[in-house]
């Protein structure tokens, strides 16, 4: 450790704190990623590391939150978990948690989902969980991961057995997600939907909206009207033009 420069030492420290790995592993990961912290995390988490989580501890954790009558964690349990983690239940990091768990629907976790998620994150105690929070927040900054999380959110947020997502839930999710990834038009989008659409949102519209936010600039200068955008998005563009929100490519 003494042979390393200060910045590298800091990184090793950070790595160990966040992942809970040993110094040896930390060095290995950071060297493999050329001392890039993000890359080191990727490297670390792509390794099989089930051995790092103790199943008994996981059981204990699970039992703390599980519902007394069913073998699942329900809304109350989740609220408790959020309290323990000192995060708001509406906090977007809970979405990331659910994503890791591959949870099928919001407000409940099966035992399997809980175990899968926590093991993937290398968590078997509340302390470790707390430590992981900042890492999970950082995942949202990654473009690829954000897209996966965004698309995951659709299936997760909609009601079981429905094909589409209810409008209010969708709007709530969008406001949450686009607070993270800044999109200037998100408010207009939500207003437009409430004024003109009033129906559930299809999966296609949901996923294409992200592409729209990503690729089309807020002044709509590179928007292709003849393109294959979902018709709802076409209507949104019309709405923006009609209401003078976008004028001659100015915004």
């Amino acid at each position: 450790m003494h042979k390393l420069g200060k910045s590298h030492r800091d990184k090793v420290q950070q790595f160990m704190t966040i992942t809970g790995a040993s110094e040896k592993i930390a060095l290995q990961a950071l060297k493999a990623s050329d001392w890039n912290l993000e890359g080191a995390f990727d490297f670390f988490y792509s390794q099989p590391h089930k051995s790092y989580t103790d199943t008994t501890h996981l059981e204990e954790l699970y039992n703390r939150y599980k519902d007394p009558y069913t073998d699942m964690i329900l809304a109350d349990g989740i609220t408790l978990l959020c309290n323990d983690l000192q995060v708001d239940p509406q906090d977007i990091v809970m979405l990331v948690v659910s994503w890791h768990m591959k949870a099928s629907t919001m407000c409940e976790y099966t035992k399997e989902e809980f175990f899968t998620g926590l093991q993937a994150l290398g968590i078997d105690s509340l302390e470790k969980f707390l430590e992981r929070i900042s890492f999970m927040r950082s995942e949202l900054k990654d473009e690829q991961k954000f897209r996966e999380i965004y698309n995951f959110a659709f299936a997760w947020a909609k009601e079981k057995g429905q094909k589409s997502l209810a409008l209010d839930t969708a709007i709530g999710m969008w406001q949450l997600l686009f607070a993270e990834k800044q999109w200037p038009l998100v408010d207009h989008w939500c207003q437009f939907l409430e004024a003109r659409h009033n129906k559930a949102i299809s999966r296609d519209t949901w996923s294409q909206l992200l592409e729209f936010a990503r690729t089309v600039d807020p002044a709509l200068s590179n928007y292709d009207a003849e393109g294959a955008w979902p018709y709802l998005i076409d209507e949104f563009v019309e709405y923006l033009n009609e209401n003078g929100i976008i004028q001659n490519g100015q915004f």
Partner: protein, 733 residues
């Protein structure tokens, strides 16, 4: 022939004498022609000098002498006569010496023929007449070729200006150019034709630039036609036929291509003006002139299209602005559109020889204004109403059978230009139903003929339902005869009222609202009796009764006299209520009848507020309100013994449009699936255009509607977007 060797000097001496004799003949001196004996001698001498073994074989020397003789002849006799001569004189002289030369060569070749047979081939040397040609070319042609060419071109120029020239002279001169080419047209083309074409171009360019200023379009075109004809004559008279194509192209380029825009766009006489003033001859000429030029007709077709579009649009707007009663003006509009169509179709057939460009121009033009009627009703509806008018009894026109057929035929043709063909079908079907059910059809043959015309134009599927409807009516008549037999044999079953039932096959007819009207007992009995009869015929089918389409004849026992009232079944049901009650309130009628408010208001209005007041209403206002009371108006009378009380039909327009929209969604859905099933993977733009193509026979689909269906299919998991490229779709089996 004696086989003996011969001394060269002696042999040549003999031959040379013959040559001198030949020259004297050619000069026109009094010299006897060769006898065949003399000819044979000369031939033999040559033979003897050549058909020998060396050293007595003088073939080479003779071959050389042949050339020498010719060259000498040319330089001493022929060429000098050309010198100092110019223009036409030069040409004449040239032809003369050419003729002489040819004769000389011919005779010499005959004398020296033996060389041609063996020596020439053996040594791969040019044949004798070739040698002759080469001598002429080298010694004569080369010297004078430029002057000849210029002189010839000058002559042609004179002829163009109207002078008469010696055509055969020119022809002969040009023959020389060709002959000099010795089998190839190179000399003719390079030494004469190229400059001739250039000169032609310059000539017509000058002419065109002044004509285009001074002449009107028809005048100019006439001149063009004449010039082209004259140039063709020129080819026929003296130019070579291989020049024709190049010559005509040159002339066309200078006269027609260069000035095409100025010509067509001439303000008072150009293409637009000709169309406006119906100048069929001039337009035909225009077509004739430009059809041979590549892309020459494009601007003409364009102007034609613009003109027709403008006329059509003006027509639509004029009628829209007129303040006639709505039904009338729409009828007039269609009439006028048909007239316009006939007029310009005639142009396409007569002036423009049915050329594709013009057929399409007409089609495109009509498509523009035929879909934009500027009224509330779509053009599909107007056309259906128009046909209905002609086909129904008492329609607005009293036409002969032929006139009707012709009008209907023209109307059907218009259908090709209307985008919403499926909407037309729906309106037509609805109106056909009314005509058939209320016996308003004027003529069965016309009905069938229209259907077959529609089938021809739009395909079998378009008319299959309508044909079913017509068949149903025929079958119903037969059925009715059977019903009457049934009643005769079961007199107890007779309901006491004359009853006719028309059976409609559900799929063919427009959908009708089912109604739960409470019928008067007399009618209920009728229904039961018929049901009984029907069950004897078939047990597999279910009858649903649509009273709204029925008619009823009632006897109204008024104070003054009994009048027969022809009313709808619903109206009859209302009136029959007054058999048991003198006075009824709106709500009482409502309860007893079990009708809807909408229907009841209409019914009561027709019986109490319209032309014939069969019921009297309190209060005696013009509209029906729910607090009104009604009584049988016994004081009613009319000079007629039988009156029809009309019930204005509900406006079905909205429903029809809705139904068609729904059908379109299914059609679009099916089209998308069909396309994707075949293609498996397809880009968005292509998918849309293929769908539009598939549906174009029936209607012009809205792009947005197609997009919505695509998304619907994605939700239903028939399609998915490609991950890499969201503009591409994949078919999910």
């Amino acid at each position: 022939m004696e086989s003996k060797t011969i001394d060269f000097e002696r042999g040549w001496d003999h031959v040379y004498k013959g040559i001198k004799q030949l020259r004297r003949i050619l000069e026109g001196l009094p010299e006897p022609l060769f006898t065949s004996g003399e000819y044979v001698m000369l031939y033999s001498t040559v033979y003897n000098m050549c058909a020998r073994n060396p050293p007595h074989n003088y073939s080479q020397q003779l071959y050389d002498k042949y050339r020498e003789v010719l060259e000498e002849y040319i330089t001493s006799t022929l060429s000098p006569s050309l010198r100092g001569k110019r223009d036409e004189f030069l040409l004449r002289e040239l032809v003369k010496i050419w003729v002489n030369h040819k004769v000389m060569v011919r005779w010499l070749s005959r004398f020296f023929n033996y060389l041609d047979r063996y020596f020439v081939d053996y040594r791969s040397l040019p044949a004798l007449n070739e040698v002759g040609m080469t001598c002429f070319t080298d010694l004569v042609y080369r010297e004078v070729q430029t002057n000849i060419k210029d002189a010839a071109i000058v002559l042609i120029g004179k002829e163009r200006e109207g002078d008469r020239i010696d055509c055969s002279l020119l022809k002969n001169v040009l023959d020389i150019f060709v002959a000099v080419g010795m089998g190839s047209m190179e000399r003719y083309e390079d030494d004469f034709e190229a400059d001739m074409l250039r000169d032609t171009g310059a000539y017509y360019s000058r002419k065109a630039s002044s004509w285009i200023e001074e002449d009107s379009c028809p005048e100019y075109m006439l001149k063009c036609e004449e010039c082209l004809k004259k140039e063709r004559d020129r080819v026929f008279h003296y130019l070579r036929s291989s020049s024709e194509v190049k010559l005509i192209e040159k002339v066309q380029h200078e006269l027609l291509v260069t000035y095409i825009d100025r010509l067509l766009e001439k303000e008072h006489s150009g293409c637009r003006a000709l169309l406006r003033d119906d100048k069929a001859d001039d337009l035909s000429r225009m077509y004739r002139l430009y059809c041979k030029i590549p892309r020459g007709l494009d601007p003409v077709a364009d102007i034609f299209k613009q003109h027709v579009t403008a006329e059509g649009t003006a027509l639509v707007q004029a009628i829209g602005a007129a303040s006639n009663a709505p039904g009338v003006q729409e009828h007039v509009l269609l009439r006028k559109i048909i007239e316009l169509h006939c007029k310009y179709m005639a142009y396409v057939t007569d002036c423009f020889q049915n050329h594709n460009l013009f057929c399409n121009a007409l089609k495109d033009a009509f498509k523009v204004f035929c879909n934009n009627t500027g009224t509330d009703s779509s053009s599909a509806e107007l056309l259906a109403t128009f046909c209905d008018d002609i086909l129904k009894k008492g329609g607005s026109e009293k036409l002969s059978d032929e006139a009707i057929e012709e009008t209907l035929e023209n109307a059907v043709k218009l259908l090709a230009y209307i985008n919403d063909r499926d909407l037309f079908a729906e309106f037509y079907r609805k109106k056909l139903a009314r005509r058939l059910l209320f016996d308003r059809s004027a003529n069965d043959d016309h009905e069938r003929s229209v259907l077959s015309k529609l089938k021809q134009q739009c395909g079998e599927q378009f008319t299959s339902k309508m044909e079913g409807m017509v068949t149903d009516i025929t079958l119903s008549r037969e059925n009715h005869a059977a019903f009457e037999d049934y009643l005769r044999s079961n007199s107890a079953a007779h309901p006491g009222i004359d009853l006719t039932v028309t059976i409609l096959t559900t799929g063919f007819w427009p959908s009708y609202k089912p109604c739960n009207l409470n019928l008067p007992t007399e009618m209920i009995k009728c229904v039961e009796v018929f049901k009984g009869f029907y069950e004897t015929k078939t047990k597999h089918k279910k009858l649903t009764w649509i009273y709204s389409l029925g008619t009823c004849n009632l006897s109204g026992m008024f104070d003054q006299k009994t009048i027969e009232l022809v009313v709808s079944t619903h109206q009859a049901a209302v009136l029959m209520l007054f058999n048991t009650s003198d006075r009824l309130s709106y709500s009482e009628i409502m309860d007893q009848l079990n009708s809807t408010h909408e229907d009841l208001v209409r019914l009561l209005h027709s019986l109490s507020c319209a032309k014939y007041k069969i019921l009297s209403k309190q209060p005696d206002t013009k509209t029906i309100s729910r607090s009104d009371y009604f009584e049988f108006n016994s004081k009613f009378t009319n000079k007629l013994r039988r009156i029809k009380i009309p019930l204005p039909p509900v406006d079905e327009k909205k429903k029809i449009v809705e139904d068609v929209d729904k059908d379109r969604r299914y059609a679009i859905d099916a089209a998308i699936v069909r396309v994707m099933k075949t293609r498996k993977v397809l880009g968005y733009q292509q998918l849309v255009s293929e769908c539009v193509e598939q549906l174009s026979q029936t209607f012009k689909p809205d792009i947005k509607a197609i997009k919505k269906q695509i998304e619907d299919l994605i939700t239903r998991e028939f399609l998915e977007r490609d991950e890499e490229n969201p503009n591409t779709f994949k078919y999910l089996a």
